[in-house]
Symmetry: C2
Subunit: 207 residues, 2 copies
């Protein structure tokens, strides 16, 4: 059963259990999905209201972007747990013969790459969400200002949490090109920190 098809209560119960998945990777994608969903909501509470006519175009663009990210991040909740499960399965493959050993090593390498790629994509999606949030801060319904701030906080938690998942899986990535690309992600984290701080403070000062 997919995690997103479980009830929120059952998902949380499975999260808190001693099962290693779902874990921080799925949580980070869900944090991002909540953030992107809130951006769409804030836009919807702005669009079509005469009082906020000046914000109309910006909110329409931000909503379109947020909905795309929302879909991808919602899918990411299950993708991360599936990738984790593939790593576990690969380690459990037989390793008696040379052929089995080679097949197992190849499976572990492929699974590790996917388990790093998935949270790296979560970083990218959440950062795009923060950029969408930035375009409408102070330019959307002020009654939903706290919701926009919460969106930024959850997107940042998604980015930094996914980054920890990239880092913990990185030693298992043997592809040098992929490794270099992942390592360059550190700059995205710094960019996200600055963006999220600016959005949070602008929201807080407006309340």
């Amino acid at each position: 059963m997919k995690l997103v098809d479980m009830t929120v209560k059952d998902y949380l119960d499975l999260l808190k259990s001693n099962a290693p998945a779902p874990g921080g990777g799925s949580v980070s994608a869900l944090a991002g999905a909540q953030g992107a969903g809130l951006i769409a909501m804030v836009c919807d509470l702005t669009i079509g209201k005469e009082k906020y006519a000046d914000f109309e175009e910006g909110c329409k663009a931000a909503k379109e972007e947020a909905l795309k990210l929302y879909e991808a991040l919602t899918e990411g909740v299950d993708k991360d747990t599936e990738a984790f499960n593939k790593v576990s399965a690969a380690y459990k493959m037989p390793k008696e013969t040379d052929e089995e050993k080679a097949a197992r090593s190849a499976a572990i390498r492929a699974a590790n790459l996917e388990a790093t790629e998935v949270p790296f994509h979560t970083v990218e999606l959440c950062l795009a969400g923060l950029k969408a949030a930035q375009t409408i801060v102070g330019k959307s319904n002020p009654n939903a200002a706290s919701d926009l701030g919460v969106a930024a906080l959850n997107l940042l938690a998604g980015i930094k949490g996914a980054w920890l998942n990239v880092k913990i899986n990185l030693p298992g990535v043997k592809d040098e090109e992929a490794k270099a690309r992942f390592e360059a992600g550190a700059a995205l984290i710094e960019e996200a920190e600055v963006l999220a701080k600016a959005i949070y403070e602008e929201v807080l000062n407006s309340l």
Copy 2:
């Protein structure tokens, strides 16, 4: 229907819709519930393993605390949306006669107090979660280090997000004692920032 009884997908779909609730308050409680749940998981992945015998007692204590906070934060997801709905309902009360006006004003005051109290409690619960996480950072299963970091990130998002909800509702709180108590919450946010940063950096440096 309670939000936590909906599927994750349906909850997210409702969140992203133009319905003003669920909004940032429920999202903040869910961020905290995910954080507390992850602490319990990390403890479970440590407890009972000979290799981590030195961490056993600390993880047992942290798990007990995390599970209490997890329950309260999971309840908070619905409590926040219920409190928001009460405010909306109070504003829609009739205001023709003096009696109606007085009843409406009293209902708005009571609803605003509750809508501020609920996120304030989320701040307190998430801060307690961060303190529990701090006791086991570096003293729990290192294979789950990223999960503990993600826990701290989500608890911090819960705290700061709930704080924005306290702040946006504060102008409607007329009870001076309650107002002063809520305003003093600013110190909790600073405390949480320091704690979460220390946990995140210790985890990041360990990877």
